[in-house]
């Protein structure tokens, strides 16, 4: 039988690691398109950078979930973590990590499309930014669920 603390540690690792992957995915998809759009229309770069900022936020969500989970771990020599708490921390971290990958892909593709669209028609920015925000919202849903799980652990 695997100890609850192992489950919790795996959850923490997944929260941080997968969120970082999600953020990296989002940035690596959106940033080349932003850079290319900037070579043609330098004035849109600062606005388009919102995609990379939102992608970076995914890593922060993962870090927050990870840190809060770490604070829930018992200190060395203290009473053992209950299996119930261990599973909550595991699933909290997993939800955050997996959702970050999905949101990262969404942010990357919609951020790349935003850069392309605003390079062609800068006046479209306020409308094409909506899918980007909706993609970010996916990660926020997971963040809320993960926080509730972690805080109840």
């Amino acid at each position: 039988m695997v100890d609850a603390i192992v489950w919790a540690s795996i959850g923490i690792s997944l929260a941080v690691f997968l969120s970082v992957i999600g953020a990296a995915l989002g940035i690596s998809i959106a940033a080349p398109a932003i850079a290319a759009a900037g070579t043609e229309r330098p004035e849109i770069v600062s606005k388009s950078l919102i995609a990379t900022i939102l992608a970076e936020a995914l890593a922060i969500y993962g870090l927050v979930v990870g840190l809060l989970s770490i604070f829930k771990l018992p200190a060395a020599g203290a009473a053992a973590l209950s299996s119930d708490s261990g599973f909550r921390l595991f699933f909290g971290g997993t939800i955050m990590g997996v959702a970050s990958i999905a949101a990262g892909f969404g942010i990357g593709t919609s951020g790349g499309a935003l850069a392309s669209a605003t390079a062609e028609k800068p006046e479209l920015f306020s409308r094409v930014v909506v899918p980007l925000i909706l993609a970010e919202a996916l990660a926020i849903y997971a963040f809320v669920a993960a926080l509730l799980l972690v805080l109840q652990a």
């Binding site: 998809i29 398109a33 759009a37 043609e40 990357g108 390079a119 062609e120 028609k121």
Partner: protein
Amino acid sequence: MPAETLVHILRDNYTEAKVRGKKSFLLERQQLYSLAEFRTQTEILGFLADGPYGPELSKLQESSSPVEVERAVRMSFARSVKNLISTAKGGVKQFLVEYNRRFDAYDLAALVLYKSQGKSWEEYLATRLPLGIMNEKELHRLYSVEDLETLTSVVGDEDLAARLEGIKLEGLTPDKASLVRDIFNGWGEERFYGFISEKLGGRDKKSCLPIVGSSIDLLNLSIMLRSKLIGISDIQTHLVPIQWKLDRKAIIQLASSEDLALALDRLAGLRYYRKFLSGARQRYEETKSLSFLELFIRMHMLELSKEILLGFPYTMGIELAFLVLKENEARNLAAVVSGVGAGLKPEQIRPLVAA
């Protein structure tokens, strides 16, 4: 999600965003019409100086001739193509390199035209775009060739040689020279079509074939009509052996038309091309020339390209459609600059613009 779409999203988004950015600077129809109203070339240069043509146009003097301005405009197009090739990766890069190879056919076609008009190598070189795979040295050698057989044997394509059989370089009339140009251009498109149908798949192929297929169809039409005009009987030997929407039946029907007028009337019955070709006979009777065909071809390509650019964004069709629009813009600008330079009125210049 298909693998090719994923590749476009992950690897080609730099090139695709660049294309979208470049597209935003293309001149609209109204802007081209406004340029046609300018009285001097200097005013046009002033208008274009801040746009994508700036780097090339800034090198010109006030006293530059319309030919020099035209060349500068075309050089800007060449820079766009090279720029896209240098930024692209993988399959898109290979696709753009193949697109670039089409210019070999244009080079050879122009070479034949210039030679038939008795123009010098320097005059030919001054109008040539630095695109295509063949270099200047190779073309210079070909410029001294005196017959089409040798020219085609150097290119190394037996099909092209067969299509040019019976046509002599010496004493080439303007109509016959245009026919040879169309045959060379058709050969270039055929190679590009071959690449697309063999190497591309899925949405990439689906988005690119209509442009290249229509281009071949319309070049075949042009070859048939010019052959009728010249009085060549064995028309089918000169055609590109690829059909897109111009099927075999239509080709036989057009080829068997007794005269050019009947062939032009039959064009109106071609369902896919009716929109552009329904007024062909009237245009021919007004101008007594088939040069309007080139404008019709460009209009059709423009429409297809605009449709592709509004469609699914992750295909190679986006790059091709942009390049069609850019090439067309360069030709439009060249027409406006030469028109204004020649002192034509705006209403005489506007029909030369495909927009």
